[in-house]
């Protein structure tokens, strides 16, 4: 009986959880500093986990000292470490942003409720990235859902309640589809451990049915076309910090698990046809989400549809993974894509939150003339959009470049075409928003109410997130090297 692995793995789950519990116990008003301290402690644990993975390779921590299949393993390879780190960056940013956003006087009750929910969610997200156990993942996924739905509904208006209701019903259906698949897998293999199941499950009929059920559930949670319909109302009606975590983290956890399970648990089932099907759904998400984003008249729905589009890219790895000349680069590109999208999307939603907070609305037509007053927020929004478009020198560019050169190197031109087209469409919706925001105020406009002044921290946070996207674009080597730790054998 030995734990193995770094203690920081369980801490990445337990520290945000304990912070949430203590915040609830004391009340957020009495301990406004506590979420910040918990966030910093979580970041420290994640940093330690990342350091361990980078230095010593993948880490496996056996909870209770019980080895699988008896016990539950936490497992961090380069991919999981990168997800933890991205979540820590977004989590820290959202925690810093939500303080002034919620404690400004008219969000008192929301503040009391936001903090424990968000901190439990952070714990559950870290658990989702770390758990190497199919049933533990089910509980973590439910925990993510049951904290995400109230965050959607927190403003309590009709639109957000309807969006939250739809989201909850579909997410519960997704969880049960997932669990149904897990039941079949356990029935066939006698284990719940991701890689042990992969070794035992084979490619027979029961395995295929289980994989289909699990994948359908995860695609629904990850809002992949055509199961994306719930996302836009949910993400665009939530308050800014909630929108940021929902789009940057919650749905991406679903996509992450699709990759994790297909590459580690079901590689035997990943035939070219299956790869094309999943990649095709990803491509449809890219194109459909981008086209819809072009047609929106409000800022937050543009960003939410862009989420639908961006979630599709990592799935393009699945058809490319079997092509030896494409696999390695596509793997880096897909993983980097999740990170780049997470940071840029959190920055974009928080910047949009500033615009809304300041103007009281987010209609695109009403954005003319805001640039002088909201210069920093517009800059952050612009920088984030540049990464979503995939222009250098951003992390989004690098991710797209790796995916694209993988696809071209392997002679997979249809996927390359999707990547290029998606980038062009993103340029379309991004520039449309920026053109409005940078335009001069129309001269015939009646006198507008002066924008509300933003707390300094709310101005700084989205900009810092956007700058992080540039940093990861310029200096990608550490992250890419991290990804090599425990890269899937299924590639190529």
């Amino acid at each position: 009986m030995a734990a193995g692995g770094a203690l920081s793995l369980p801490l990445a789950f337990l520290l945000p959880l304990l912070t949430a519990l203590v915040v609830f116990l004391l009340g957020a008003r009495r301990a406004p500093w506590l979420p910040g301290i918990g966030a910093l402690a979580t970041v420290a644990a994640v940093a330690d986990a990342v350091r361990h993975v980078a230095a010593h390779g993948p880490q496996a921590y056996h909870l209770g000292g019980w080895m699988p299949p008896l016990g539950v393993e936490l497992y961090a390879d380069g991919l999981a470490a990168l997800m933890l780190a991205m979540t820590a960056a977004v989590g820290l940013a959202v925690t810093a942003y939500a303080g002034p956003y919620l404690h400004d006087g008219h969000h008192h009750q929301e503040a009391e409720r936001f903090w424990p929910l968000w901190l439990v969610q952070w714990a559950a997200l870290n658990g989702t990235f770390l758990a190497a156990d199919l049933f533990n993942l089910y509980i973590m996924l439910e925990l993510v859902t049951l904290t995400a739905v109230p965050l959607v509904a927190i403003t309590g208006d009709r639109a957000s309640l309807g969006a939250a209701m739809r989201y909850l019903l579909l997410a519960l259906l997704a969880s049960l589809a997932y669990l149904l698949g897990v039941a079949l897998l356990y029935g066939g293999t006698g284990t719940l451990h991701l890689r042990q199941v992969g070794e035992l499950v084979g490619a027979g009929g029961p395995a295929a049915v289980a994989a289909a059920l699990i994948t359908a559930g995860l695609l629904l949670k990850g809002a992949i076309f055509p199961l994306h319909t719930w996302l836009v109302p949910a993400h665009s009606n939530a308050p800014a910090p909630a929108s940021a975590v929902l789009s940057a983290l919650v749905v991406q956890a679903g996509v992450y698990l699709v990759l994790r399970l297909w590459l580690w648990t079901f590689p035997a089932l990943l035939s070219p046809a299956v790869g094309w099907l999943l990649g095709g759904l990803g491509a449809a998400s890219v194109l459909y989400g981008s086209l819809q984003a072009l047609r929106q008249s409000r800022l937050k729905p543009v960003i939410a549809y862009s989420t639908v589009a961006q979630l599709g890219y990592p799935l393009l790895l699945l058809p490319l993974a079997a092509v030896p000349a494409a696999a390695a680069q596509a793997w880096q590109g897909a993983a980097y894509y999740i990170v780049a999208h997470g940071l840029a999307k959190a920055g974009a939603f928080l910047a949009a939150g500033n615009i809304r907070y300041s103007l009281g609305h987010d209609r695109l037509a009403g954005l003319r003339g805001i640039a002088p007053e909201l210069s920093v927020s517009v800059l952050a929004l612009g920088l984030a959009f540049v990464s979503l478009m995939g222009l250098p020198p951003t992390a989004g560019f690098l991710a797209k470049w790796q995916l694209l050169s993988g696809a071209l190197g392997g002679g997979q031109w249809p996927w390359a075409a999707v990547i290029v087209l998606g980038g062009l469409l993103a340029a379309g919706y991004g520039l449309r928003v920026l053109a409005m925001a940078l335009a001069a105020a129309p001269s015939d406009e009646p006198v507008r109410r002066p924008p509300q002044r933003l707390p300094r921290r709310m101005v700084a946070v989205p900009l810092l997130l956007a700058l992080a996207v540039y940093l990861l674009g310029v200096s990608a080597v550490p992250a890419l090297r991290l990804l090599e730790q425990g890269a899937p054998e299924a590639l190529g």
């Binding site: 519990l21 116990l25 909870l63 209770g64 439990v120 739905v149 309590g156 009929g205």
Partner: protein
């Protein structure tokens, strides 16, 4: 032979009830039949050698879920409204699509389970073989609180998160939960006080017994918590417990204390034993009982509050 007939009868009853739950025209009937189905499931669990589940299903699956459903039915069905105001049914072609889809699902799962060979080794077999190392005698308690303790920890957090979420979307106190009670000063059945005087101490006793017995036979924190929650529901319905808008410090402690205790003991395992969520040699039984005591409250109170629809409860007595 008789066994087979009993199984077929149970399955027939279960599927028949499920069809009725979906197909029944009257929503109230669907709700009641669903509760009946829950009770039947409890029999199925007993039949499939799962007495722990039978207890939990009867208390939580049928009992508390039933109470929640009935309260919600009443809230969604204003008094005086004739019949169920249900939205128009979907067009017929949708029903066809649904039938094809669910038929395909049944076929796929049925086909998969028939092709499924039981594995030679399983986590459960190992759990039984190494039961002695867990410190408890009941295999299920060993899985829940030792081998896979993190599942249980996360699951109590799920319940806590549901409570937090329910607070976010809560209705005003007067309408929430089981809704307004008929005039509390007005009479209640004469036997009610007597009944409660017997039921409440009995319930607490049963919960305590279930909690203690979980170490070696069916029972444990889940079942004990469910029985306590059922008592809470009873006291809320009869007005002994009144909903209030604030969670008291004691309630806050009961809600998260068990989870904090579980996490703290789990963390201490990294120093005092081999790993996080491992128990020091010789301490497993004591610590598991301690954790289960905390969890009993962390299960009972949020369930009661979710039924009550309030942030807290105050004793009002009679």
């Amino acid at each position: 032979m008789i066994d087979r007939a009993f199984d077929l009868l149970l399955i027939g009853g279960m599927l028949g009830l499920a069809v009725q739950v979906v197909a029944s025209r009257a929503l109230f009937r669907s709700v009641v039949l669903f509760i009946a189905l829950g009770l039947l499931m409890a029999v199925v669990w007993a039949r499939l050698a799962a007495p722990d589940l039978a207890l939990a299903e009867a208390a939580i699956g049928a009992g508390l879920t039933g109470a929640l459903l009935l309260a919600a039915y009443r809230a969604l069905q204003p008094a005086g409204e004739a019949g169920d105001a249900e939205p128009a049914a979907l067009p017929r072609r949708w029903a066809l699509v649904a039938a094809v889809l669910s038929g395909a699902l049944v076929a796929a799962i049925g086909w998969a389970v028939l092709g499924l060979e039981p594995p030679a080794a399983s986590a459960g077999r190992e759990a039984l073989a190494r039961l002695g190392e867990s410190g408890v005698k009941s295999p299920i308690t060993a899985v829940l609180l030792s081998f896979r303790a993190v599942d249980t920890l996360a699951e109590v957090v799920v319940l806590f998160a549901a409570f937090l979420g329910a607070r976010v979307v809560a209705e005003p106190l007067g309408r929430a939960g089981p809704g307004p009670r008929p005039d509390p000063a007005g009479g209640e059945p004469v036997l009610m006080p007597l009944l409660l005087r017997v039921t409440v101490p009995m319930g607490v006793l049963v919960a305590g017994y279930l909690l203690w017995s979980g170490g070696h036979q069916p029972g444990g924190a889940f079942q004990a918590g469910a029985v306590l929650a059922a008592l809470g529901v009873l006291l809320r319905l009869t007005g002994r417990l009144q909903p209030v808008a604030e969670t008291s410090p004691a309630e806050r402690l009961a809600l998260v204390g068990g989870i904090v205790l579980f996490s703290a003991i789990g963390l201490a395992g990294a120093g005092m034993a081999s790993a996080v969520l491992a128990y020091p040699e010789g301490w497993a039984y004591t610590l598991i009982l301690l954790i289960e005591t905390g969890l009993t409250l962390a299960i009972a109170l949020p369930l009661t509050l979710l039924f009550s629809g309030s942030a807290g409860l105050r004793w009002r007595g009679r």
